[in-house]
Symmetry: C2
Subunit: 732 residues, 2 copies
Amino acid sequence: MKNNIQLYKHGKVMATGAVVELPEAVAKASKGIDHLSYFKQTISSDEIALTYRFDEKDMVVGFGETVKGLNKRGSELVSFCADEPEHLPNKKSLYGAHNFFIILGKEITGFFIDFPGTIHYDIGFVDKDVLNIKIDGLDVDIYQFTGDSLKSVTHEFLSIIGASYVPPKWGFGYQQCRWSYETADDIRRIGKEMREANIPCDTIYLDIDYMERFKDFTTCDDKFPDFENFVSEMKDQGFRLIPIIDAGVKIEEGYDVYEEGIKENHFCVDEDGNPFVAAVWPGLVHFPDFFKEETRQWFGDKYKVLTDVGIEGFWNDMNEPAIFYTPKRLKAFYDHVEKSKEKPLDIYSFFDLKGEAESLSSSPEDYRSFYHEVEGDLVRHDKVHNLYGYFMTQSAAQGLEAIDADKRFLLFSRASYVGMHRYGGIWMGDNDSWWEHIELSMKLLPAINMCGFMYTGPDTGGFQSDASSELLIRWMQFSIFAPLLRNHAALSSRNQEPFAFEEATTETLKNIIELRYGLIPYLYSSYMKAVGERSVYAANLIMAYDDERTREIEDQLLIGESLMIAPIYKQNRTGRLVYLPEDMLLWNANGAVVDSLKVMPAGDHFVPITLAEVPLFIRPDSGIILGGVAETVEQMDATQLTFLGYMKTGIEESYYDDDGVTKAYEQNQSLETTIRVVQSENGLRALVDFDQDSELMNVKIIVMDETGQRYEGIVTREASSICLEKVSQYDN
Amino acid sequence: MKNNIQLYKHGKVMATGAVVELPEAVAKASKGIDHLSYFKQTISSDEIALTYRFDEKDMVVGFGETVKGLNKRGSELVSFCADEPEHLPNKKSLYGAHNFFIILGKEITGFFIDFPGTIHYDIGFVDKDVLNIKIDGLDVDIYQFTGDSLKSVTHEFLSIIGASYVPPKWGFGYQQCRWSYETADDIRRIGKEMREANIPCDTIYLDIDYMERFKDFTTCDDKFPDFENFVSEMKDQGFRLIPIIDAGVKIEEGYDVYEEGIKENHFCVDEDGNPFVAAVWPGLVHFPDFFKEETRQWFGDKYKVLTDVGIEGFWNDMNEPAIFYTPKRLKAFYDHVEKSKEKPLDIYSFFDLKGEAESLSSSPEDYRSFYHEVEGDLVRHDKVHNLYGYFMTQSAAQGLEAIDADKRFLLFSRASYVGMHRYGGIWMGDNDSWWEHIELSMKLLPAINMCGFMYTGPDTGGFQSDASSELLIRWMQFSIFAPLLRNHAALSSRNQEPFAFEEATTETLKNIIELRYGLIPYLYSSYMKAVGERSVYAANLIMAYDDERTREIEDQLLIGESLMIAPIYKQNRTGRLVYLPEDMLLWNANGAVVDSLKVMPAGDHFVPITLAEVPLFIRPDSGIILGGVAETVEQMDATQLTFLGYMKTGIEESYYDDDGVTKAYEQNQSLETTIRVVQSENGLRALVDFDQDSELMNVKIIVMDETGQRYEGIVTREASSICLEKVSQYDN
């Protein structure tokens, strides 16, 4: 059997930790990159250039978190974790460094470039037929994957980087966030409003305001008095609180984290060996040197301060690491201003001055000014920049594991590198309340999934700028299909909680979020299967279909194996065009109650979709499993479920579940329910294999056949095989 | 007969000059705005608020130059001419103030708010069902238009604001621009490359570099020696040079424009009565007070400096007016920096500092710090801000008229106000090389046309950021349908002339630009008809069709009466979906030669479109007139044309032409050719009425009927009625 993975190395052996399950045969057979015949190579004293000439129809997919579409051909990207709040079309870097991509041409070949410094990709931008990759260093591992489909090549890659992080099941609930819930009372009010509006919600977030002067692992007693009781008060109402943890540690005498860090040499150092100083939210800080095992352990243990008071989830932020300024660059700026004052400013000097202020933050010069200790050696930060967020989140994950090895904590990060997907998810960063960013989040979800990060989602409604009610509704109609469903907004932006608009909007959002909860059995099952099978949770159509049309469709996605979605992402629309690669069953859902079903033939359709409706397309001979609605995930009724299927010749679907909170799933302690619908002499028959250990007592089966005939029946443990009854159609 | 126009006034009579052809009856019957029953009104001591409650399906269209789509419902806009280089989705203002909009519901009602200060429009943003208009002042004229269609209401509006500017016909040629053609030799090289590549081109632009230290009406002898000979040398090669003129006049002893301005009191003054000082490209400048008739005359006469050396066109820039900084604000910034230095910077102080630098430019405070003389009174700039660019361009137009009253000069502006459309066009400002900005320019063209500005177009290929060859090709495939077809790029961006990419790209762009020249007879005819009939040149489908689907289609446009376009505006596409409200004839053009014809039924179609193809859809029983290709518009062969029509029951098209350079058209001195195709016993018969004064000798007729049968024939002055011959189809 041909080996589908090849490893090519250059320089000394690296240990980024991205790849952890490489078949030994591949490791042994690894070659120098001069054997990597796919690319023309040029190796100089400090960089490696790889070149490939495209065929006319070659597509390039992958690269995870970028602002680009499905096919990256014609784009420029830079692999460099960046605190980039402006997700504009010309931005070459976002927060993650995801060096996995696939070239789809006559052959399908994937590459993972395991390199923690900067990589420049010119993917047919300068010359549309030429791929140019410039690796800013010499120590690199390149993995080549071959297969007969996008799916199989992606699978090869996912198979060697380790299984994706699994959140607690409540992490699939609706999550509410905003930067500016400044006090415990603010949080209480949010919770109260959510409950009064009867909108399901599992978590409320604590952005930077909960801390005492933005110091990690502190809580502000003035604004959040008696924090432990507050956590438990909110938990009693079904809300878990999720605090933010930033990368920088405030320099402040008497602050234990700072003092320990200094004493035990946990901080990154400057060229003189002194702790490196930068400014972020707390003012002046040091950055923990997460590259050191002992520092990871030290910092990871700190999370206990918060888990001890009942916290069960965290988001790690500012870990590119973002730098607002450094004292050194601020001084240079002041000097520049001083010089400017000496003489009248010509216009270019004026722009220089303005540019100087703009470039104070996250300056490349600063990234070249501090060092990590890697196996006893000092390594300049920029050489390994892309691993910083990775190691911070590894630190957190290992800390939490030490606290409770069997408990699933919610954990996600802003910065990331391939491999970090084992420790936590990522959110899509600081987007804007723009219609374009709904579309962007639809592009990001499958691309990020392909790089192993299954737990992800956008700041629904948009972080910066002001949201309109319609924008929030349409965005929510997409986001309910993302594993991480969070509404988040920035300080000074318009309030965008589901209850912050007209009553009709609140009602619409309630229905959409209820649909999400109804879908959780299917979504969670799909998620867990993807993690287990090393496939993806959300995919572009091209992953499953190979017709020409699907190569260019970016605004419809497959969620799991049975569902296709086609959200509206433009203002003032009453419908949209949808391409069906095969005939499907449309459920134009208005809330979680199954209604409004219609069989649609393959081809292009203009589908009318009101503001209240979420169109779900069920693939032939498959179906989705639905639960009942509840205030929180944990309150959902596990005894009864609904199965909605589209029957052509026969359906067999298995539905995964587990306890949702422990890591027992790692030992295959899961619940499996299999649902079958078959043709029989007397019409359609439904059969359910109940898992012995499951609480599930009955499954309501709703099936529509090709002719649009709807069938229903309830399968119970007692009567686990029944004939379905024809019911009258009220929608076609 | 019901009068379709109503005028409501408040405050003293204004004279913005926007409306010039109001029927006397309307003027006499004008009422106070308290009679304007459409809106609920609140009038305070310094502002007027108008409120309207929408019906569910109401659409709002209009507002000219904005970043928004066809239907503005759900958006916020601010009418305030802004130097806004970032055309992001949340930007509320661009360069123009175009206060004309139409509410389409059960009734169709248009409004023009004639007010030169700031107006805030909340068009169902805060509450989706409420329109809130806040007018920052009390002196306002509001015109209400009623009609039975979008088209008729638009016509009413266009009828009272005066006829649109008409450029010379060569202004429909391809125009090449870039900020950084620094020397005459740079320009020579551009011309040479264009001619060597055989790409038609009529003009090359001179951005700010041609001037001596950015001083208006100077040329730099070092970089452009012997300017007059250079102008004539380029003209001999078919290139007209189009210099930029900026609003600010450099403060420099010995500079005649400055010295005259001071001596004759032509400059805006500060609160102390001294000339107001701001900094733009030349460094410190004064702004001419274009609100004064004598200043307009003085500045307008200066254009003669350039027309005397052979210049025939200008673009007026920076006339919002843009302000980079003022000495006063720069001092405040320096003081702020000085204070910041005194103590360690907390993080909010740091952002204040950074924000202070960012907000140095075009600060509202500065706009409140200078004054215009209006009828002897001093008026603070911000109160009348939106008229500044208007008056500058009026000044230029009147100056040019004084130079040669019968000559059409090319003239367009960045800032504008309704009414300025009589004096010149506008370009769409400083966009980016983003795919999204192709789409934006497709939204802008019909919206800007609706407000009277017929001569307009985008910076094709994008001003800022770097263009890829594919982006430029796709953008060009749209822009060839805009009256102003200009490729323009910013300093430091990638070169994007048609010859700057791979050879295949140059070839493709050559074909597209040749198609443009082929289309000029039709485009120019359509333009002149729109100007004459007070209709629009480019329109959204909703202007002509009233089915539900066309209400939401923004990416297909009607150009003139016979043509629909559906450009590709996304990367890596091999086709796109097109909605046909009725059956049409598709010409998938590859260059200017008619080929590849196909009849398409009404409905949705996925149309394959290669990178080389431009799809043109011809409406039933109509057609377009095509010319031959030449290096310049003036070299086009006027003796023979081609007519391409789609025949169902019968075609009658008249084609407008004129000398293209004089204003004889104002006296109806035009050429009209009428082409008819009729069913006769022997098949299709074509008849052409030649204009006696025209040079046209023959018209090749190509017609396809509903069945896809193609007919051809050549009509001459001798045989002006012929039977068309069936020709074999090579494309269906």
